[in-house]
Symmetry: C2
Subunit: 106 residues, 2 copies
Protein backbone atom coordinates (compact mmCIF):
# COMPACT_ATOMS: atom_id res chain seq x y z
CA UNK A 1 0.00 0.00 0.00
CA UNK A 2 1.21 3.47 -0.81
CA UNK A 3 0.32 6.74 0.91
CA UNK A 4 0.30 8.60 -2.39
CA UNK A 5 -2.01 6.24 -4.25
CA UNK A 6 -5.69 5.30 -4.18
CA UNK A 7 -6.83 8.90 -3.99
CA UNK A 8 -10.01 9.76 -5.86
CA UNK A 9 -9.74 12.65 -8.30
CA UNK A 10 -12.70 14.41 -6.69
CA UNK A 11 -12.92 14.80 -2.95
CA UNK A 12 -16.12 16.50 -1.83
CA UNK A 13 -15.01 15.81 1.73
CA UNK A 14 -11.67 15.10 3.33
CA UNK A 15 -10.65 11.48 2.90
CA UNK A 16 -9.63 9.69 6.09
CA UNK A 17 -8.15 6.22 5.96
CA UNK A 18 -7.14 4.26 9.04
CA UNK A 19 -3.81 2.59 8.28
CA UNK A 20 -3.27 0.81 11.60
CA UNK A 21 -4.82 0.93 15.04
CA UNK A 22 -5.20 -0.73 18.38
CA UNK A 23 -6.69 0.38 21.69
CA UNK A 24 -4.07 3.05 22.27
CA UNK A 25 -3.05 4.31 18.84
CA UNK A 26 -4.64 5.12 15.51
CA UNK A 27 -2.62 5.95 12.41
CA UNK A 28 -4.58 7.79 9.72
CA UNK A 29 -3.92 9.14 6.30
CA UNK A 30 -5.90 12.29 5.67
CA UNK A 31 -6.25 13.80 2.20
CA UNK A 32 -7.51 17.38 1.92
CA UNK A 33 -8.33 19.23 -1.25
CA UNK A 34 -8.68 22.83 -0.23
CA UNK A 35 -10.72 21.79 2.79
CA UNK A 36 -10.64 23.71 6.04
CA UNK A 37 -12.47 23.48 9.33
CA UNK A 38 -15.85 25.22 9.33
CA UNK A 39 -15.85 28.75 10.68
CA UNK A 40 -15.82 28.68 14.45
CA UNK A 41 -15.13 24.95 14.63
CA UNK A 42 -12.28 23.87 16.90
CA UNK A 43 -10.92 20.40 17.48
CA UNK A 44 -10.65 19.66 21.21
CA UNK A 45 -9.38 16.11 21.34
CA UNK A 46 -8.89 13.67 24.16
CA UNK A 47 -6.00 12.11 22.26
CA UNK A 48 -2.57 13.46 21.49
CA UNK A 49 -2.06 13.94 17.78
CA UNK A 50 1.28 13.86 16.05
CA UNK A 51 0.83 15.10 12.53
CA UNK A 52 2.98 15.59 9.44
CA UNK A 53 2.20 17.02 6.02
CA UNK A 54 3.74 14.85 3.29
CA UNK A 55 2.46 16.66 0.21
CA UNK A 56 0.67 19.95 -0.41
CA UNK A 57 0.47 22.47 2.39
CA UNK A 58 -1.74 23.48 5.28
CA UNK A 59 -2.20 26.15 7.90
CA UNK A 60 -3.20 25.09 11.39
CA UNK A 61 -4.73 27.62 13.72
CA UNK A 62 -4.18 27.53 17.46
CA UNK A 63 -5.51 29.94 20.02
CA UNK A 64 -2.11 31.63 20.07
CA UNK A 65 -1.43 31.77 16.37
CA UNK A 66 -0.99 30.06 13.04
CA UNK A 67 1.43 27.34 11.96
CA UNK A 68 2.13 26.70 8.30
CA UNK A 69 2.99 23.14 7.36
CA UNK A 70 4.86 22.22 4.18
CA UNK A 71 6.02 18.74 3.17
CA UNK A 72 7.98 17.13 5.98
CA UNK A 73 6.85 19.63 8.62
CA UNK A 74 5.54 17.85 11.69
CA UNK A 75 4.23 18.81 15.08
CA UNK A 76 2.66 17.34 18.17
CA UNK A 77 -0.75 18.63 19.17
CA UNK A 78 -1.16 17.63 22.81
CA UNK A 79 -4.57 16.44 23.99
CA UNK A 80 -6.97 19.32 24.62
CA UNK A 81 -4.92 21.85 22.70
CA UNK A 82 -7.65 23.47 20.67
CA UNK A 83 -6.89 23.78 16.98
CA UNK A 84 -8.51 23.99 13.60
CA UNK A 85 -7.47 23.63 10.01
CA UNK A 86 -7.36 27.19 8.76
CA UNK A 87 -6.56 26.22 5.18
CA UNK A 88 -5.16 23.56 2.89
CA UNK A 89 -3.68 24.03 -0.56
CA UNK A 90 -6.03 24.81 -3.42
CA UNK A 91 -3.34 23.94 -5.95
CA UNK A 92 -2.87 20.27 -5.12
CA UNK A 93 -4.16 17.72 -2.69
CA UNK A 94 -2.64 17.80 0.77
CA UNK A 95 -1.64 14.47 2.26
CA UNK A 96 -1.32 14.30 6.02
CA UNK A 97 -0.26 11.47 8.23
CA UNK A 98 -1.70 11.63 11.75
CA UNK A 99 -0.96 9.43 14.74
CA UNK A 100 -3.48 9.70 17.56
CA UNK A 101 -2.47 8.20 20.89
CA UNK A 102 -3.28 8.28 24.56
CA UNK A 103 -7.02 8.38 25.17
CA UNK A 104 -8.72 7.52 21.90
CA UNK A 105 -12.31 8.45 21.33
CA UNK A 106 -14.30 7.04 18.45
Amino acid sequence: MNLFEDIPEKLPEELMTVLAEDSSVRIERIVSDGHASPDGFWYDQEAHEWVVVLKGSAVLEFEDGLVELNPGDHLLIPARRRHRVKATSHHEKTIWLAVFYGTLSD
Copy 2:
Protein backbone atom coordinates in the same frame (compact mmCIF):
# COMPACT_ATOMS: atom_id res chain seq x y z
CA MET B 1 10.63 20.59 12.62
CA ASN B 2 10.93 18.87 9.27
CA LEU B 3 11.46 15.18 8.55
CA PHE B 4 13.74 15.94 5.63
CA GLU B 5 16.05 18.33 7.46
CA ASP B 6 18.74 18.10 10.14
CA ILE B 7 20.39 15.08 8.56
CA PRO B 8 24.17 14.94 8.79
CA GLU B 9 25.98 14.45 5.49
CA LYS B 10 27.87 11.44 6.83
CA LEU B 11 26.05 8.70 8.68
CA PRO B 12 28.40 5.99 9.93
CA GLU B 13 25.36 4.44 11.63
CA GLU B 14 21.64 4.72 11.06
CA LEU B 15 20.22 7.87 12.63
CA MET B 16 17.22 7.34 14.89
CA THR B 17 15.29 10.30 16.24
CA VAL B 18 12.30 9.97 18.56
CA LEU B 19 9.67 12.46 17.39
CA ALA B 20 6.98 11.72 19.98
CA GLU B 21 6.34 9.03 22.55
CA ASP B 22 4.39 7.98 25.57
CA SER B 23 4.01 4.69 27.42
CA SER B 24 2.23 3.00 24.54
CA VAL B 25 3.61 4.54 21.37
CA ARG B 26 6.92 5.73 19.99
CA ILE B 27 7.23 7.61 16.71
CA GLU B 28 10.71 7.56 15.20
CA ARG B 29 12.40 8.95 12.17
CA ILE B 30 15.09 6.60 10.92
CA VAL B 31 17.65 7.66 8.32
CA SER B 32 19.64 4.94 6.57
CA ASP B 33 22.51 5.48 4.15
CA GLY B 34 23.05 2.11 2.54
CA HIS B 35 22.75 0.44 5.93
CA ALA B 36 21.35 -3.05 6.34
CA SER B 37 20.93 -5.44 9.23
CA PRO B 38 24.04 -7.50 9.98
CA ASP B 39 24.12 -10.95 8.39
CA GLY B 40 21.98 -13.32 10.39
CA PHE B 41 20.45 -10.58 12.52
CA TRP B 42 16.66 -10.58 12.81
CA TYR B 43 14.44 -8.11 14.63
CA ASP B 44 11.97 -9.92 16.89
CA GLN B 45 10.05 -7.13 18.56
CA GLU B 46 7.51 -7.07 21.34
CA ALA B 47 5.89 -4.03 19.75
CA HIS B 48 3.91 -3.71 16.56
CA GLU B 49 5.69 -1.53 14.04
CA TRP B 50 3.96 0.44 11.33
CA VAL B 51 6.56 1.72 8.94
CA VAL B 52 6.68 3.86 5.82
CA VAL B 53 9.54 4.86 3.55
CA LEU B 54 9.32 8.57 2.67
CA LYS B 55 12.49 8.93 0.59
CA GLY B 56 15.00 6.53 -0.86
CA SER B 57 14.23 2.83 -0.93
CA ALA B 58 14.62 -0.29 1.16
CA VAL B 59 14.16 -4.02 1.06
CA LEU B 60 12.77 -5.76 4.12
CA GLU B 61 13.29 -9.46 4.55
CA PHE B 62 10.75 -11.68 6.25
CA GLU B 63 10.96 -15.41 6.77
CA ASP B 64 8.63 -15.85 3.81
CA GLY B 65 10.17 -13.40 1.40
CA LEU B 66 11.27 -9.90 0.54
CA VAL B 67 9.29 -6.66 0.41
CA GLU B 68 10.61 -3.66 -1.50
CA LEU B 69 9.61 -0.26 -0.17
CA ASN B 70 9.66 2.90 -2.27
CA PRO B 71 8.48 6.36 -1.20
CA GLY B 72 4.97 6.16 0.24
CA ASP B 73 5.00 2.38 0.64
CA HIS B 74 3.93 1.37 4.11
CA LEU B 75 3.31 -1.81 5.99
CA LEU B 76 2.51 -3.13 9.42
CA ILE B 77 4.97 -5.51 11.00
CA PRO B 78 3.05 -7.24 13.78
CA ALA B 79 4.83 -7.95 17.05
CA ARG B 80 7.06 -11.02 16.86
CA ARG B 81 7.10 -11.12 13.08
CA ARG B 82 10.78 -11.64 12.48
CA HIS B 83 12.30 -9.29 9.94
CA ARG B 84 15.51 -7.65 8.93
CA VAL B 85 16.60 -4.80 6.71
CA LYS B 86 18.04 -6.55 3.71
CA ALA B 87 19.16 -3.34 2.01
CA THR B 88 18.68 0.40 1.76
CA SER B 89 19.53 2.63 -1.17
CA HIS B 90 23.18 3.37 -1.87
CA HIS B 91 22.23 6.27 -4.13
CA GLU B 92 20.55 8.49 -1.58
CA LYS B 93 19.61 8.48 2.06
CA THR B 94 16.51 6.54 2.97
CA ILE B 95 14.10 8.23 5.36
CA TRP B 96 11.72 6.00 7.26
CA LEU B 97 8.96 6.86 9.65
CA ALA B 98 8.19 4.14 12.18
CA VAL B 99 5.41 3.98 14.75
CA PHE B 100 5.93 1.36 17.45
CA TYR B 101 2.93 0.52 19.61
CA GLY B 102 1.56 -2.11 21.91
CA THR B 103 4.24 -3.45 24.24
CA LEU B 104 7.20 -1.11 24.03
CA SER B 105 10.61 -2.28 25.07
CA ASP B 106 13.52 0.08 25.49
